[in-house]
């Protein structure tokens, strides 16, 4: 029981990660692939943030009478990762717009059809 309930945050991470990964692989629509990629990246953010929590730890603000703090560093790291994720999504969407202008489609199989072999 402890395996599932005690570590529930990691199970959420794994489920989200695999959902995103599956969408990236299985969907032919380029936009859906980007959505999948975002879910995949978000799962990692949850992993980092949840591991920062220290049992009985308070928010990392210096206050009298508080001894145990949660670790603030992973949150800061994830701010960077979120920025990277936003940049990646923006670039992916820009590429999709150009692809749509050239091919008139965002479906992978229709694009491949137009180019013969990919």
């Amino acid at each position: 029981m402890n395996m599932f309930l005690g570590l529930y945050n990691y199970w959420i991470v794994i489920i989200l990660m695999m959902t995103g990964f599956y969408i990236v692989i299985a969907k032919g629509n380029l936009l859906k692939k980007v959505v999948g990629l975002n879910i995949f990246q978000t799962s990692v953010i949850i992993m980092y943030v949840s591991m920062a929590k220290v049992k009985d730890g308070a928010a990392p603000i210096l206050t009298e009478g508080v001894e145990i703090f949660s670790n603030p560093l992973p949150h800061v790291l994830m701010l960077t990762a979120i920025v990277v994720g936003v940049a990646t999504t923006a670039l992916a969407l820009a590429l999709i717009v150009s692809i749509y202008e050239e091919y008139g489609s965002v479906e992978e199989d229709e694009i491949h059809e137009q180019d013969g072999s990919f």
Binding site: T88, I99, D115
Partner: protein, 493 residues
């Protein structure tokens, strides 16, 4: 003042200059500016290398925050060498890019090209120089995002789909690396690579660390295009602008291999990675099909840039095969091939760019009679090809010699045979080009092609000439590679 801050300037200079390109705006001016910056970066890495040789490794505290809390930039024997390779190739390719970009990229996008190029250079240099595991991820993403942009600038519309495919796979790889770093942080509470190396041994025997090395290996192997994770590479190299193909093939995958070496050997240590975890077996089982399948698929390509891209997949197989042996000779051969392959593949892609400059593309039918019309470009391709095959007096021979030595040292003679078969397959795909160029007449009525302009020929021959020079004067590179290999093996516990 400046000499103390060289490690920071190495990455800050190209990083700051990238947005400045957008202000300068006029393509000619921007090209000149980029070249000045690239030469300055090259100067800095030469300075750093000589400083390391004279006084030993440099540790630079970013913003005066002492490691392990602050971010440390670290220049040692291996990283100064890789820094020099990256900035040298960066400078040579930018010299080439002036003419080549003018022909291949639409005028309003040329400024953006140089801007993305500088960002990519800053990212690659950052990966090499930083001493912080999370920083590796950040710089990796800076270089990757700019690489996707650079690839998408190719004049074929397939460049767009190639860039998109690369973006999806590259992001998956980078996220895997991020997970691996997170798991290490979870167990040790530090991100500094030196500090990690000190603290990991206490927690080695946990599932978290085992998962972390697995995530890191898969993520990095995606970035360095090890078979079967190479699917993004052929299309990206084939449809990117010529200068970009040359730059990427000579630097991006090499830097990824450097990251693999650093994480596996310095942080986890040889004993854990190769004896507790089956790292050697896994890498070997992937590199052998990389060599055989990569070379075989290359034979059937009609687009010559794609042919060279598949040949790159095979050559990456050689490097990883050397590393998978986990012996000093094996790693020496891997690092040697890293340097040598950067020279020859960079030179070959630049030579192809010279052909694409006149023909608009480089397919096998464009090679007819080029032996007469473009003698210098074709000669460069032949020399580069001989080096890919591994003929004596070229750099390719040296690294393959060491690789065969390393396999025989451990009694793996069937693997030595694989290396030789790979070379024979290389003979076949390079012969295709030679046959088309020297044994075919130019078709009647075709446009007469002239030799590529000097501005393209000089950088090409700089790299090809270097590949001959280092094939004859081998002491320098072998010495450096051996020292690096001993350091990496010695770091193991």
């Amino acid at each position: 003042m400046i000499s103390n801050n060289l490690p920071a300037l190495q990455i800050v200079l190209p990083l700051i200059s990238a947005p400045l390109c957008l202000i300068l705006f006029r393509p000619k001016l921007v090209w000149f500016f980029t070249m000045v910056i690239c030469l300055a970066t090259l100067g800095i890495s030469v300075e750093l290398l000589s400083a390391v040789v004279n006084t030993g490794a440099i540790s630079y505290e970013m913003g005066n925050w002492a490691p392990p809390w602050g971010i440390e930039l670290r220049v040692d024997e291996v990283s100064s060498f890789v820094l020099l390779i990256v900035s040298l190739i960066g400078a040579i390719v930018i010299l080439y890019a002036g003419k080549s970009v003018e022909r291949e990229i639409a005028p309003h996008k040329q400024t953006l090209f140089y801007s993305a190029y500088l960002l990519c250079l800053a990212g690659l240099l950052g990966i090499v120089i930083t001493g912080d595991a999370f920083n590796v991820f950040v710089f990796l993403e800076i270089s990757s995002l700019s690489t996707y942009t650079l690839v998408s600038l190719g004049n074929d519309r397939r460049a767009l789909t190639a860039a998109f495919q690369y973006l999806i796979m590259g992001t998956l790889g980078a996220t895997f690396i991020l997970i691996g770093i997170g798991l290490m942080y979870m167990m040790t509470g530090t991100l500094n690579i030196q500090d990690l190396a000190g603290r990991i041994p206490d927690v080695l025997d946990t599932r978290t660390i085992r998962a972390s090395i697995a995530f890191l290996t898969v993520g990095i192997c995606l970035k360095l295009a090890l078979f079967p994770l190479h699917l993004w590479l052929p299309n990206s190299y084939a449809y990117a602008p010529s200068a970009v193909s040359a730059f990427l093939s000579a630097t991006a995958t090499k830097v990824a291999i450097y990251v693999l070496l650093r994480f596996v050997f310095i942080i986890f240590g040889v004993t854990f990675a190769f004896e507790v975890m089956p790292m050697g077996t896994v890498l070997m089982l992937m590199s052998i099909p990389a060599i055989l399948i990569g070379s075989t698929v290359a034979i059937f390509q009609q687009n010559i840039k794609r042919l060279l891209a598949y040949s790159s997949v095979a050559q990456i197989g050689y490097m990883i095969l050397g590393i998978s042996l986990a012996s000093v000779t094996g790693i020496t051969s891997g690092i040697l091939h890293l340097f040598n392959h950067a020279l020859m593949k960079g030179g070959l892609f630049l030579a192809l760019g010279g052909i694409a400059y006149h023909m608009g593309a480089a397919r096998i039918e464009h090679f007819k009679g080029l032996g007469q019309t473009m003698p210098w470009t074709m000669a460069a391709i032949v020399v580069g090809g001989l080096s890919l095959i591994g003929v004596p007096l070229t750099v390719g021979f040296i690294s393959k010699w060491y690789l065969v030595l390393a396999t025989l040292e451990q009694g793996y003679w069937p693997i030595a045979v694989v290396v030789l078969v790979g070379s024979l397959l290389a003979v076949i795909y390079m012969w295709k080009l030679v046959e088309a160029a020297y044994f075919n007449k130019v078709d009647e009525g075709e446009v007469v092609v002239k030799e590529a302009p000097l501005q393209l020929l000089i950088p090409t021959w700089l790299l090809i000439g270097a590949s001959l020079y280092f094939g004859i004067h081998t002491e320098l590179t072998i010495d450096a590679a051996q020292k690096a290999a001993e350091m990496l093996m010695g770091a193991g516990r």
